[in-house]
Symmetry: C2
Subunit: 208 residues, 2 copies
């Protein structure tokens, strides 16, 4: 007890370009706010399916999709990054999410997540390709063969299902999202600051 | 020529709660950025219909809708405002938009817009009710009978159709939105600052 930091859950899908932006911002923001971040990769696909979407809303609604790529490019430029569109978009993020969860206990989940997003949205690489995932794992010093085997084990597969179900049960409908210990949900790269402030006790709580 | 300010178009639908937030922020932000704002009420309905929606996406996708009300309440609290949900939501904004356009030449469009949003989202009043619209017009010193008659004249009806068509042709798919003289589109209350910075020449232009 005593000096413990507040904790938030940071939910992201590897296919999400706005999550790529958030992954590149959240660590510094969390440090400044003295909030601890739990990295929670999950799958938006099953949540989208449940509301009748079989692909990204950015594909279903072309005007919104075109806008989003432009907006991501502008936001990236503000951060000194340049977005490269992977083909197809969205990428299938199932294997990547399983690999990430395989690394949770071993501590390389954040490093893998950042390296994977960079490959996908800065170099346009496929994230469903095992060879690409192996490259990324090796680049962060992880035994790729072991990690990929673990990623496809039953415990990790079930864990990803449970994570996704937990996301849904918390009201999550998009990525990135942040949830706080008291059940508050914040959606979008634009809400990271507000989510961390809320967790740190600086949110506008007076209103309810 | 010479000292003229850059101009942006500020697009909003009277049924939109995020537009209510934006209407309460844009004037100060624009003044600070030395940007002139053209107020452009339009109708999202026809744009939503064209993509198969017959109501607000916040009703079609309940998780997103619940989140949006919570998010609007939080954002409002940060501004010292408290949201009251009008019933039904969304309100039918057709007559309100026509009244607003009737006031464009006479200069009361911004005042009417702000007063109408306050009635709708701070007091939960109907904006399709002529008596309520009359109250709002009188409160800002406008001849209500004359304004309502003008609102229902053919020129104003056609103008609203043209405005909505222009919004659509500029790629607008939601409200509030801001467009700049060089064709850049910014969507959402969260993007007002970036839109004004872009118009003032401070955007991240280097990226293309």
């Amino acid at each position: 007890m005593g000096n413990r930091e507040p904790v938030v859950d940071f939910w992201y899908d590897f296919a999400s370009h706005y999550s790529w932006l958030a992954v590149n911002r959240i660590e510094k923001l969390a440090e400044a706010a003295s909030v601890c971040v739990r990295w929670r990769p999950f799958l938006l696909g099953p949540i989208f399916s449940a509301q009748g979407w079989n692909t990204s809303p950015f594909n279903i609604y072309p005007a919104k999709g075109r806008y989003a790529w432009r907006d991501v490019a502008r936001e990236a430029a503000r951060m000194g990054l340049k977005v490269v569109r992977p083909d197809p978009f969205p990428q299938n993020s199932l294997l990547a999410a399983r690999v990430a969860l395989a690394g949770r206990e071993e501590g390389w989940l954040p490093a893998f997540s950042k390296a994977l997003y960079a490959a996908e949205f800065e170099r346009g690489r496929s994230i469903s390709d095992q060879a690409n995932l192996s490259d990324i794992l090796r680049a962060i010093g992880v035994d790729a063969g072991k990690a990929l085997a673990m990623a496809q084990s039953e415990p990790v597969k079930s864990r990803l299902k449970a994570e996704t179900e937990e996301a849904r049960s918390r009201g999550i409908f998009g990525a990135p999202s942040v949830t706080t210990a008291d059940g508050e949900l914040f959606w979008g790269n634009d809400r990271l600051e507000h989510a961390l402030a809320w967790a740190a006790g600086d949110g506008p709580r007076g209103f309810r």
